[in-house]
Homo-oligomer: 291 residues x 2
DNA sequence: CGGATTTCCTGACTTAAGTCAGAAATATGC
DNA sequence: GCATATTTCTGACTTAAGTCAGGAAATCCG
């Protein structure tokens, strides 16, 4: 371990502590202690159930109760019993609460925008931040099944097509490729999985089925800042699990030799190369795996 | 301003807050509140004067006084009047204090090492962290005059020679170049300046004089993660100021066309190209500036 | 149904952090 | 020398945050 690396990480910690501290201070400007503001923001971000707020913010049950009473007295929040289990309670923002939440969001966005504006190399900075955030938030990466037309899915697919366009010598035009109908990548025929890191989509994979025992893997992509963390493998495992769940026994996929990481992954994880099985113009390698 | 950029910055904030919070929690493990631990560490890092601790940590005068009394009662710190002004006081660690400080340093280093160990792309991560830390800590970059044989100076010079080796088609061997004697880059003949970002050296420039009215600028270098922030210009301005201070009226420098950023900077800041003035094998462009 | 469990709540605490006024010691400028 | 300013300190506060024990309501399970 080079001693220099430790100094660099610690410098990073200092720089970033100052930035985060400044954000906290700006949150104080709305005349409410930080604890209450954090609860309000958790609710605004869709965390309604009291138990889940407690877990997320790591608060004591009694403390959270009191903070919620405070927000109720301010008229920002109402709590109702959970419809399915009346012991639990669900908090929701009132109209005034939504406005207050929006004000916090605006503060947060302003700070982010100011940070970017005062740095001349914004794009490079953003890429570096993505890399750091993904590496630090590695344990918090979740893989979720979504509609392939959802915002998160489209974000990944757009990036995937753009990358293919850059990496294939021929360029890439979606319309020429066999673009699976969305319904083929949703239950009950297939599935579409997105990897999320703190809500930001950073990878995807599609399982395209026709209701038969054979299905295809499509659109495996991992955001550059998240490569090297084993995420592609994790996505593939989840896709295979979904396939088994749907009663599929054989998986196929096509790929291109311009994507050597992908070829390497498939060869290492039980896929065997087979003959061409479609007339799509882009792929030049074809694989199969029996589940 | 792309909306996506804000989401990315905010994700970064969240990821990093969790990391920093974990470090704070680990500091709590030594049975001392965070406030006292921060004061102890500030003193350990060489911040002796009470006033400077107050500024650095942003503490109220009364609060800091109490924290210092607490550390004194623990036997970790002694305070003495400042030799030049007995109103001010200077805090110093006792032997027990030094041990306790070392324990905090170890905790901090352990966390940094653990972070690096659990991330498979350590080197890329470090570079990204450098970039973020430099961008965020931009206002805190200081330029200081040092001995050209100091640790910080050598760090920069080593990186500078390595980069020349990569960028010059011929490679680079210091011994073939006219390596200025250290004394030529120190008062009263010259100066050596280092840019520090939170203590980490990220750039340098040397002013090499012979006691005459003409002197040379040597070894201008900025760390890759800090480029694009105008640091080279700032270093040059400081070097020119030092030259004026030493009564120097004409500056010269040599450089190579493999370093186009440097050529561009010189041309924009009042340097005029002149004929070759030495027989150093590496440079192919020569500049002069009258102060 | 009835005891055990879960979920949230209240009340009574503790601790850390921060604020503010003014006192004491020392330095500075005329 | 003396008024004024600076630096640190003490004491008396406030506020935020967190802990813990126990209670009420709802649910679960035999």
């Amino acid at each position: 371990m080079p001693i220099d690396a430790l100094r660099r990480i610690r410098r990073f910690n200092r720089a970033v502590t100052a930035e985060v501290g400044a954000l906290d201070t700006s949150f104080l400007g709305r005349g409410r202690p930080l604890g209450a503001a954090r609860v309000l923001n958790a609710i605004g971000h869709g965390r309604g159930e009291v138990g889940s707020i407690r877990d997320y913010l790591g608060l004591d049950s009694g403390l959270l109760s009191r903070l919620l009473r405070g927000l109720e007295e301010e008229g920002l929040v109402v709590t109702l019993p959970h419809p399915a289990d009346a012991r639990r309670r669900v908090a929701a923002l009132t109209e005034a609460g939504r406005q207050e939440f929006a004000a916090y969001e605006a503060l947060s966005n302003d700070r982010a925008a100011a940070l970017l504006a005062r740095c001349p190399k914004g794009d490079e900075l953003l890429r570096a931040m993505d890399l750091v955030a993904t590496a630090l938030g590695r344990e918090r990466i979740t893989v979720e099944e979504t509609d392939p037309r959802s915002e998160a899915a489209l974000h990944c697919l757009t990036a995937y097509y753009a990358e293919l366009g850059r990496r294939l010598a021929t360029g890439f035009d979606v319309s020429l490729s066999r673009d699976p109908e969305a319904a083929d990548m949703m239950r009950p025929r297939g599935a579409f999985l997105v990897a999320l890191s703190d809500g930001l989509p950073i990878g995807c994979v599609g399982l395209k089925g026709k209701g038969l025992e054979v299905a295809e893997i499509k659109r495996l992509w991992v955001c550059p800042s998240a490569r090297g963390l084993g995420l592609a493998r994790r996505l593939m495992e989840r896709a295979e699990a979904a396939a088994r769940d749907l009663g599929i026994t054989t998986l196929r996929l096509d790929t291109n030799s311009a994507l050597p990481e992908a070829l390497h992954l498939y060869r290492r994880t039980g896929w065997v190369e087979i003959a061409r099985f479609n007339d799509d113009p882009y792929p030049d390698h074809f694989f199969e795996k029996r589940l």
